[in-house]
């Protein structure tokens, strides 16, 4: 399975679940699962991709678990009240804030800020954003994987974008990359 299979699953797991211990559990489960079915794998097949497949399924299972908790705890996101007033117009605070200038960020600065901001998102928003924008998964597959409707996906993307914009602007303003 080589280097890639050893390193990539952890990365996926970290990004998707933001929890190093949980990541280790998932990698462990996936490896053990793969070992158990080793006897059924034809000798010429590539173990790496197969292992990644198993791991992805495990990540999705856990995401579903945390997603259920998230959607149960409320359908409103405070970010909306922060950025918009009762009539749905941009709030005073939003208007007064400095514009976000992504083009002025160096790639390495941007990566650092993005990572932190993704961590600060509710897990379901982070999952859809990473799936769509970073992994460039198509919406249909992503919805199926996460067990959500496309309407939900769009709602979550909207909120993720609003939140990320705010987070990046705030971090950039305090020079925290």
């Amino acid at each position: 399975m080589g280097i890639r299979a050893r390193r990539d699953p952890l990365r996926i797991r970290y990004v998707a679940l933001k929890n190093p211990d949980a990541a280790e559990d998932a990698v462990q489960e996936a490896l053990l699962g793969a070992l158990k079915s080793l006897s059924r794998i034809p000798p010429h097949s590539e173990t790496g991709p197969r292992l990644m497949g198993i791991l992805k399924k495990k990540v999705v299972d856990r995401q579903r678990q945390s997603m259920r908790v998230d959607t149960a705890t409320g359908d409103v996101d405070p970010i909306l009240d922060q950025l918009f007033d009762k009539n749905g117009q941009w709030s005073e605070a939003a208007r007064a804030a400095d514009p976000l200038r992504l083009d002025s960020l160096e790639q390495s600065e941007f990566m650092g800020i993005l990572k932190r901001c993704l961590k600060s998102l509710p897990p379901n928003q982070a999952a859809v954003f990473v799936g769509r924008e970073l992994n460039e998964q198509n919406s249909e597959d992503l919805c199926k994987e996460l067990g959500i409707s496309s309407t939900n996906l769009w709602v979550l993307m909207h909120r993720a974008r609003l939140r990320l914009g705010e987070c990046i602007r705030a971090r950039w303003a305090i020079g925290d990359a």
């Binding site: 490896l31 992504l102 790639q107």
Partner: protein, 85 residues
């Protein structure tokens, strides 16, 4: 008339799927007049572009952000060896 909140949702949706011609016209009329929504749209387009650049960079360099900690590796090996018995 859509509020700015609804408009940001429509702008976000327009990155996810094709929106109707009517909606598209509504969107353009609105952002022509509304600086904040115009700003939101350019921000999320820029965000998409930056994330894709980043991804291309990571793929190209085959860089991994977090190598597996050696303690984790040792623990995994132990578990696996136990399983193999």
């Amino acid at each position: 008339m859509l509020s700015c909140k609804d408009m940001t949702k429509l702008i976000s949706d327009s990155l996810e799927a094709k929106i109707s011609v009517r909606r598209r016209m509504e969107l353009w009329l609105h952002i022509m007049m509304c600086r904040m929504c115009r700003r939101f749209r350019s921000n999320i387009l820029e965000l998409r572009r930056r994330v894709r650049d980043l991804k291309a960079l990571l793929d190209q360099a085959d860089t991994v952000s977090i190598p597996m900690p050696s303690a984790t590796k040792a623990r995994l090996e132990e578990v696996i060896n136990r399983q193999l018995g």
